[in-house]
Every structure is written in C-alpha cells, then in structure tokens.
C-alpha cells in the first residue's frame, strides 16, 4: 500500500474512500468527486510530488447499476511512485468532474479523449471538445455501453456525413503552428480561421 494513502486520509478524512492494492502492486484510491480538485492539488504539491499524469481514462461496467469511474494514473518521477485515483460518477446524474488541467497541463488531451469517448464533462477544461471523432460527429459517445458497435446511423448516412465533413476544420487558430504567420496566410484560410469554422453537417435531402 502506497504511504500516500495515509497522508490523504490524515488530510481529507471522509473524502477518501476505500483503498486497495491492484494485482500489479499499484495502489488504487477512491475519492469523492466533490473534493477531487483539492485532493489532486494536494498530490501535485511538492510534499507528495506526483508531477506526471500518465493517463486519464474512464470505465463503464456492464452492470448498469454500477457507477462510471474516472481513473487517473499519477506518477512521481522523482520518488518513482505510482498512484491511481478513481472517482465514481452516478450514471443517472450529470457526468461531470473537475478538470485537472490547471494542475497537469498534459491532461488536456487525455480529458478531451474521455469526453469524446464517454461524454464526461470536465469543469474548467480550457478547450473541451472531441479529439478522436470529428467535431460534427452526431452519433454519441462510442465507448458507452449503450452505444451500438456499428454506430447509430445507417452506413450510408455515416459515409454521407463523413464525406461532408471538412477535413481542414479540426484545428483552432491556437493549435496551428501557422498562427505566427497569420498575416502571410491566404485570404480564404484567414477567413476560415477567423470564423472558427468547424464544418457543418448538411441536412438530409
């Protein structure tokens, strides 16, 4: 058992749920979603020094009664310690937790992936939008258990929407390395970037 658990219990008391050791020897700690931001800030601080967020992911179980879990894989590079933090979310309520991007900048795309695949929103995320599926994707969140394997639309509709997507519209101005050269860009590209165009789904005929 990772000694961080004792420190967490001493500091946060009831906000820390059960803790267990996974089969690979890593410690899993369940925490309450309301206190996640404080707990993560505590872990990030120099006393605990978890300076690297390896992954952020989520789990939905086949049992619909079980809550969804958001899982944070933390690592302290200096202390060579790993810790997993789990947050349980009621599947009937709003699926939202606080973003940890203010603490670990590297979590930005990881949280976007969780949002894209599971529909969990991260409060305070600077740029929460789809990252794997295109932005006009309208079929839902593919890794949820109620999502059919082949998608919700017919294949023809899927092809139609895909072909109508604008492959150049997935980037914001900030993301593009050409932002510095903005003034030298062709007029049409400047116009598209200014408009923040993301591509539109044309209606059915």
């Amino acid at each position: 058992m990772n000694p961080t658990v004792e420190a967490l219990r001493a500091t946060f008391g009831d906000a820390i749920g059960r803790a267990l050791v996974a089969r690979d020897g890593e410690t899993i700690v369940y925490v309450r979603p309301e206190t996640l931001a404080e707990i993560m800030a505590f872990l990030r601080a120099p006393a605990q020094d978890y300076d690297y967020v390896v992954d952020v992911t989520a789990v939905e179980y086949r049992d619909r009664e079980r809550p969804l879990e958001v899982v944070y894989f933390l690592r302290s590079l200096r202390r060579r310690t790993d810790l997993r933090i789990k947050v349980e979310l009621d599947p009937t309520g709003p699926l939202a937790v606080d973003s940890i991007v203010p603490l670990w900048r590297g979590a930005e795309w990881l949280e976007r992936e969780v949002f894209d695949m599971f529909g969990i929103t991260f409060r305070g995320h600077p740029d929460l939008r789809r990252i794997l599926m295109w932005e006009t994707y309208a079929e839902g969140h593919p890794l949820r258990k109620d999502f059919p394997l082949r998608g919700r639309f017919s294949r023809a509709e899927q092809v139609r929407q895909a072909l109508n997507a604008n492959p150049e519209a997935h980037y914001s101005l900030d993301e593009l390395a050409i932002a510095d050269a903005y003034r030298d860009l062709p007029a049409d590209m400047r116009e598209r970037l200014e408009r923040g165009e993301r591509g539109k789904v044309p209606g059915p005929e």
Binding site: P142, L149, R155, A156, R160, L163, A165
Partner: protein, 200 residues
C-alpha cells in the same frame, strides 16, 4: 494506305489506326504507373516492402512514387480507412488528373475487414471507385505485385474510344458516389461478423 487511314467505324469497333494507337497509349500508361501511396496501417509496411529492393515494383514502371496526387496515376489505399479520413482520400482522388486508377490493398481497405465498427469505412469503394482489390491481411508483396499486373492487364484492355472511362465522377447531390441503398448493402457484415448483433 488509303484504307488504313479511313476513320469510319465498322460495327462500332475502333479502326485499325485507332486500335494501334490504343495499344501504344495503353502500353505506355501501363508501364509507367506512378503510384500515390495512401498508407494508413500495416498494409503500408507491405507496400514499402514491395517498393524496396527485394520486390522492387520499379521493375513494372512504378519507379517514381508520387507523394503528390497531382502527379500520380494510381492511388494505392494500403490499410483501413476510418470515416475521419474519408473526405481526405476523396479529395486526394479528386485532385489526381485523368487517367487515374485505384488499387484497394488489403481486407480493410476492400471491405472494412475485422473493423466492422462505428469508426471504419466498410470498403473504400463507398468513397472512391476501385479498379483492383488485393485481398490479404496484409497482402504479401507478391500479392500487391499481382494486383498491379492485373491493373496492367485492365489498362491494356481500355480504348481511347471509351470516353466514359476517363470522365470525372463527382459526388452526386446527396454527397455520395453510390445510391444509399447500395452503400448499406455492400457495408453489410459478412463472414464471422454476421454473428455479432447491433446492441441497443
């Protein structure tokens, strides 16, 4: 000589001069195919092996790989095509000048393969017209070379008289290249996939 140069068609068939011109043009087209590799997955590895010295498809006039669609003759889709890449390959195909051909390399490009899911195009023929399908997962370089030779054969059977072969076929008003029923039909699962079901 006068008879040779006569241009009138006999029963719709090309005359002697045009037939010989066809042979010349098709011979030159078939033997200098410039490939535009569109490699998305493990098939691209086999494609690279085919291009490299051991298998060396430069032997068949494919020496110059055109990494720009504007100087390419044959688009080789090597690997699975997710829906997110569908508009990309369509644009690349549209940018290629006529005459142009498409080889669908591997099971995934041809049918979606094992990826019968929400993210994958079930055969690139729903997006661009395909001339040769190369089966395999991935095909060995010999397989791709055989596909290229089949394409040679196909090209050598073409005629300059068939204008429709070289016409651009843009997407229709629905934004598709085939009727929706056809796309649904050819995207249907087959083989082991039919034992899966659409949950929910």
């Amino acid at each position: 000589m006068k008879q040779v140069l006569e241009t009138k068609d006999v029963a719709g068939s090309p005359n002697w001069l045009l037939a010989k011109l066809d042979d010349l043009v098709n011979w030159s087209r078939a033997n200098s195919l410039w490939p535009m590799p569109f490699g998305t997955a493990c098939c691209a590895i086999e494609f690279m092996a085919t291009a490299a010295s051991r298998f060396d498809f430069a032997r068949f006039g494919m020496e110059r790989q055109a990494f720009s669609p504007r100087q390419a003759d044959v688009l080789i889709c090597a690997g699975r095509l997710p829906f997110k890449l569908a508009p990309v390959i369509r644009r690349i195909y549209d940018q290629m000048p006529q005459p142009k051909w498409v080889i669908s390399m591997g099971a995934c490009a041809s049918t979606g393969g094992i990826f019968d899911n929400y993210a994958m195009v079930q055969g690139i023929d729903t997006v661009v017209p395909v001339d040769v399908y190369v089966p395999g997962c991935p095909p060995r370089p010999e397989g791709l070379l055989y596909g290229v030779l089949l394409l040679h054969k196909k090209i050598k059977g073409e005629s300059l008289g068939q204008r429709s072969l070289r016409e651009e076929q843009p997407l229709d008003h629905t934004g598709l290249r085939l009727p929706p029923e056809t796309i649904d039909e050819i995207s249907e699962p087959f083989g082991n996939s039919v034992h899966q079901f659409r949950s929910a």
